[in-house]
Symmetry: D2
Subunit: 474 residues, 4 copies
């Protein structure tokens, strides 16, 4: 792999697919701005005072049109920004081009190899001599992971002189992480520790990344403050739920043009993402079967008229399989062998280990027929029939379509902006949550009811809210 | 008012409408048992060890068929039980008869006056010489309120010799409470304090009662431990949501036989209860408009395609109005005057102050035409048209129909049993929540997926759960 | 059986349950009038000219509140009316009382025996000396059947002297019909032929009755003109579909209070009635399985995400069974024996032969436990578990609830009024269909778009409609 | 315009975008075959006997992957085939390439000019010396129109020597038709009459084309037999309804990535296509408003909870506008000027005259910004805001996405094959309808119930169907 950073005429670094798509990207960014009232309100409210003046922000988050509006909100608020995608298939090249040309350093393109992916992540964190970023926007935690592993390796190296050994792991991707760190040690054995010193904190976008952060917090290994953006109501109950309700069928249609009505669809996991997926499939006319481990979620599925069974029960009868669990090893190659001809298998969870791609790729005699990018038919030799796997087992809504739509991402990203502001100001007021929803109501023509003083007193809340206790579930 | 307690041949006290309905009640209780797997599992698991042996439980909770199964679960576990309803219209007389004859002391009938209501509450708490109950099952907090007001009055009386003055309040119902306490002071000036001494704790069923408890906790006036059953996921996200989705249309149909399809329906409040109501009305073919104060809930409504406006915007165009806010003064008489002829106005929130019944009743020249019990047409003199008010502004699902169905009440009441067990054992393990859902899955034919050890480790949860952090919103 | 006709003070004949319920009936009739804009518009438009002056109308159609509004529309238009119910359980006694007191001769009460039912039908057709009615409103065709069988018997008797032999049939109900006719022959051997002579025609309300009429037409045995009201779009696609969508869950709730969410429900037949039932059950959270013979209807069910299987496949797994086929022998006693404990079995098709009640009643050792009227638990001796049968296998929405709501019946009944007007005027214009829908739009606040002349020409329709060819399916 | 026909190595004519896409086309055709059980069953049943041996079939119907499976079904049954698209944007170039290379003469590419479009139509009908096709598959009636206009012109020319004058019409497209015919007259003044002589008949696919045919039939100008495929239940109630339910959101998402949830959407027309569109939008979380001229359809919309208003009422409040009327002049430029910024305007009816594109294009100072092909933003000069028009006002599901999915097109196209077989065999049995549905059930795992002899007799239908009278509406 030999990649080289390019520079715009103004000297800003980038590496994207095709800078000439910047005009197209700009047009779509302008459309998206109209659909992202929360971010535009942040620009209007905070833009003039430039609260991020002097702040360096590195982001590792799907480099889409919506993310472009987020980036330009951060720059409007005064930040300097570097960005990479958090998934090899999720970049929209025209969005990356427009941002690279106009606003921030971008290292991202659709269809990176894993080596390229981590090269991009490194570039995104690399602010040159003065150490790393002040703030990180992370999605899935890969930027956070790289710094933590880097610091760990540097400390070990300083103590014992030992460098990380890529062969110590079976995980293909982690091999690459260790290689990068090992190679970095030679040139600068304090690189990641310098980063850590400068870093004010990270705001994490998704369930999976949050889970990693909690694990690190529990074991005492978390190196810097982190804000859990995922669990904002206006993120998890909107982006995860309504976003997936929109983007799952979008991905299925763009990838396969298959009619959803009449099909039997299996949704593995009935959390917020699974709820959105199941709702979309049911509404489109599929018969939906849910697999779950958690009896509460299972009972919720049943109350909506969905059958709850195990994958084994239905593997040979269903037409569409979607994993949403945030866990690993959900659909294994042995399941796939038992499926109907042209069953569609896809994942909408953050990481690509829900579907056993390794088992599939190494199945003796299996044949891969690429229908089009991100749509592959895999034929098993002994049965001559095959299944269709989307986005190579990665996030199908971003791999096969354009991810969540602008409006719902505006909710999520407004939380991100607020989290970044919080981190930067080291303040911790708690009044931002409702604001995110409020910023999105006007666009939809809603009119809120106002409490009278007497009503507010009666239910013991301030007139202007918050209206619910912290534990309220929405 | 001159009411007298009656006694069964075995000497147990009661006051019900008609003991001869006991056989009918028993048949329906038997049907309900099949639909209440959680309570039946409690009987199977805990019945033999009689954990409530020696415990006196007083319950103030709608005396329905489902509550009958709860009561007999408590007695199967060894408790001695006294019961009253927490709403003047919510008793099912055949259920009350069966329990009075077979299992517990019951003081409840459909259509109590307010004086009768509070007489029943007193009887329910009155265990004779030895003080009050060990445990209370409360719904809305009226039993809890009576004890707290009683203690307060006794302390004041002891200090100053002053007795409560019913004329000190405009609230018709609170007048009655003060009268009862005043009258009680004469015969036993330590009655409520003795109750408080004995009382181990209360488990509270509903949002409104929980709100009262939190208020008392904050002001330091809460006299005994309380468990918030309402906010169990398997209560608030099931009973409130799916229960109302079922019982709102049931109440509308039984009360008015009106076709819901094609109508414009306004749901005031989009919390769990409002969500269930809106879903039911939308699915039945109504066009639903939501009023909200909280932007998050408002945005949720919009994402489901519901319009969010103020009551004033739609008051003269809608056909059906439902209050679900848990707040007061939602639909005032001035609203009602502007409504279409035969607009239906009803409340499914716990208390009867969401609809301005006082304003309506005292409106000059207004005419009340009772179509049938709990269904009244009110005609305004100047316009000659009228509106239809259900259950006199009280809980319409219990006043006009039979409340929530057995299956979902089994979820709620299993939480109640567990809460009572907790209070009684003074233990505080936290593993009960999932259990409630799990106990209800078999009945619906669901099969849960099991985590592998490796999967469980990967997401850092025990194989047997809990699977979600405490803040997870389901 | 010894029944006697009673008379009002004005001399009009009747036989109802309790005339003192007339005030209650009147109040509900007044509510219904507001919900039946089509009928009220007929009164406004045709009332002054009394087009039915001199016409005698006999109706055999569920004697409900809605039918009361129909009857009083017919009398407002000048007709003299006699009425009976077309189902032993479908009368609403307060409606019958109000009509008997105020408007027409009524012979109907809830819970007739079969003998009483046919006695009522005879009374309804019996206009004294001058022969029978001029017009019949029939629902299911029983009035039509009685006249046809009567005429056949009279002709046979005249030719051969032979009277009908009730023992010639196994069908319990048809035995009664033959008995009535036989007994009538003695007193007046020309009674039914005189009826036939006078009769201008019949308008038939429902699928089942229409099928009978087509059969008679094909075999050349139909004795008088008949108008098929059922197949008006504003009947079959409204009453059958939206009416059942409303009244099926209503009947289930009133009869059993069972929670529909989470249950497995089987709908036998996916015609208009089946579509309405399946939609209601699905929306309430049940998992719905359809049985069908017709591949087109089956494919429609699949497109809505419903499973299509045979009854045998699912008989032991489902919780609720609804027959909607208009065919016989759908759920047999052998099916019922295999069902889960407390499975609910009900019929919403016109006749009571969809469920094998005879097989159930005569099953050796079977035990019937009446929970309440129209809700019976039947326990099989060998398995000790039982099923719940609603309305003894008859129309459960009328037996256990109040049938279809006023608004949708206004559509159906406006078609009836128009059909009766047509028959009476012996005209056959075809422009009435759209009118029925149009009369109902204002009530729901709809505003229609108007064609321009140029647009109308472009699609070759008159500006004022009709807009669709006769074969259009809506 | 200078277009030239190309030839494959085997000498078959074609004109497509890029023959090298044939492999990709073939892969997608193979996927589609699995989803088109009806067509594959036709191949299996009729393929061996080659019923179309000797028949020339010309098709004017969207040249998509699904149509490719239709074409190859026709060739498998023995036909020789020539094909063009019936819409300038609806061709899928890889499908055209695969068919051109492997199976039939194709003249079609995505993004034809109108001149190119009619050149393709001419080529499709041009079978060389021996006259035209034996059979036509038409969609919208353009091939039929060309022949009728051609014959008319030839007859006029023979009688009077006058040639058609393109300047005699304002309609830009009809100018081209007249030009083609005029130019053709010079080289062969009997060309269209020879075509007519040979032609056995046409089977017409869509509502709009059928309307044209009925108009010609009424005026006595229809020159050859025509079969109305559109009004097969398994076409109009499946393709129009379920097809649009699938492809409308697909087109919206691919063109604009806009979030549908929370938006206000206006559906003009509530026929089968409008019903499908409204269902899709409602289910995706939009608030849907319907415009209608027909009170029956309007009442159906209301029963589903949709508001019925005029376009004028909502033009400035809605976010998405879809025309489905099959009529002209629905959304005019004056409407568009009043819309919100970035309101989306699109058409899913067959012809492009529902939206006033001419008015828009010629609006003084209007600015067209092409976001990407088939997605244009039009900015009005005086208000500086604009609207987004999809597919230049043509069928947006084919212009912006890939049209209806294979499964539902299999229903439609199986009707086409049967219609073509009918025309060719000059038979007119009526038993095909049910067969189409039946052929699609196995794929979805349905099991039909079978009538017993006794049941069949009871409802007077043959055991094997048909089960419904001809007028039944499904």
């Amino acid at each position: 792999m030999s990649l080289s950073v390019e520079k715009t005429s103004s000297g800003r670094e980038y590496k994207v697919k095709d800078l000439s798509q910047a005009d197209f990207g700009r047009l779509e960014i302008e459309l998206a701005e109209v659909e992202m009232p929360g971010l535009m309100a942040c620009r209007a409210e905070f833009g003039p005072s430039k609260p991020f003046a002097g702040a360096r922000i590195s982001g590792s988050l799907h480099m889409t049109i919506q993310t472009a509006v987020l980036i330009e909100t951060l720059t409007t608020l005064g930040a300097e920004v570097r960005w990479c995608s958090c998934n090899i298939f999720s970049t929209q090249d025209h969005a990356a081009a427009a941002i690279a040309r106009d606003s921030a350093a971008v290292f991202a393109w659709k269809g990176e190899t894993l080596e390229e992916y981590w090269w991009c992540t490194e570039r995104c964190l690399d602010w040159g001599e003065g150490g790393g970023p002040d703030l990180i926007v992370d999605d899935g935690g890969d930027a956070t992971l790289l710094i933590h592993e880097g610091v760990k390796a540097e400390e070990e190296y300083e103590k014992t002189g030992k460098v990380p050994d890529p062969e110590s792991t079976d995980n293909a991707e982690f091999k690459i992480v260790l290689t990068i760190i090992r190679d970095g040690l030679k040139s600068d054995p304090k690189k990641y520790r310098k980063m850590k010193e400068r870093l004010v904190g990270v705001s994490e976008e998704t369930t999976t990344g949050v889970k990693r952060l909690y694990q690190m917090q529990e074991t005492g290994t978390l190196l810097f403050p982190a804000i859990n953006v995922n669990d904002s109501v206006t993120k998890s109950k909107f982006d995860n739920l309504y976003g997936c309700r929109h983007s799952l069928p979008d991905g299925l249609m763009r990838a396969t043009d298959v009619m959803i009505a009449g099909k039997v669809a299996v949704v593995c996991g009935y959390g917020d993402v699974g709820k959105g997926c199941a709702a979309a499939l049911k509404q489109a006319g599929a018969r939906v079967i849910v697999t779950e481990i958690d009896p509460i979620c299972a009972l919720q599925a049943l109350m909506e008229g969905l059958q709850v069974l195990t994958l084994e029960d239905v593997v040979s009868e269903a037409d569409i399989f979607v994993t949403t669990t945030g866990n690993k090893d959900i659909i294994m190659v042995d399941h796939m062998r038992k499926m109907k001809n042209n069953a569609i298998v896809c994942n909408i969870g953050h990481f690509d280990n829900e579907i056993d791609m390794l088992g599939l790729e190494t199945y003796p005699g299996v044949k891969r027929i690429t229908i089009k990018p991100q749509t592959d038919r895999w034929v098993f030799p002994e049965i001559k029939t095959g299944i269709i796997v989307l986005a190579e087992g990665r996030l199908m809504n971003l791999g096969c379509a354009t991810g969540h739509p602008s409006f719902v991402m505006s909710c999520s990203f407004t939380n991100q902006v607020i989290a970044q502001l919080e981190l930067w100001k080291e303040k911790s007021s708690g009044k931002y949550e409702k604001k995110v929803a409020a910023l999105h109501l006007g666009k939809l023509g809603a009119k809120l009811t106002k409490l009278t003083k007497s009503q507010a007193d009666y239910i013991s809340v301030p007139i202007e809210g918050p209206y619910k206790p912290a534990h309220y579930r929405y």
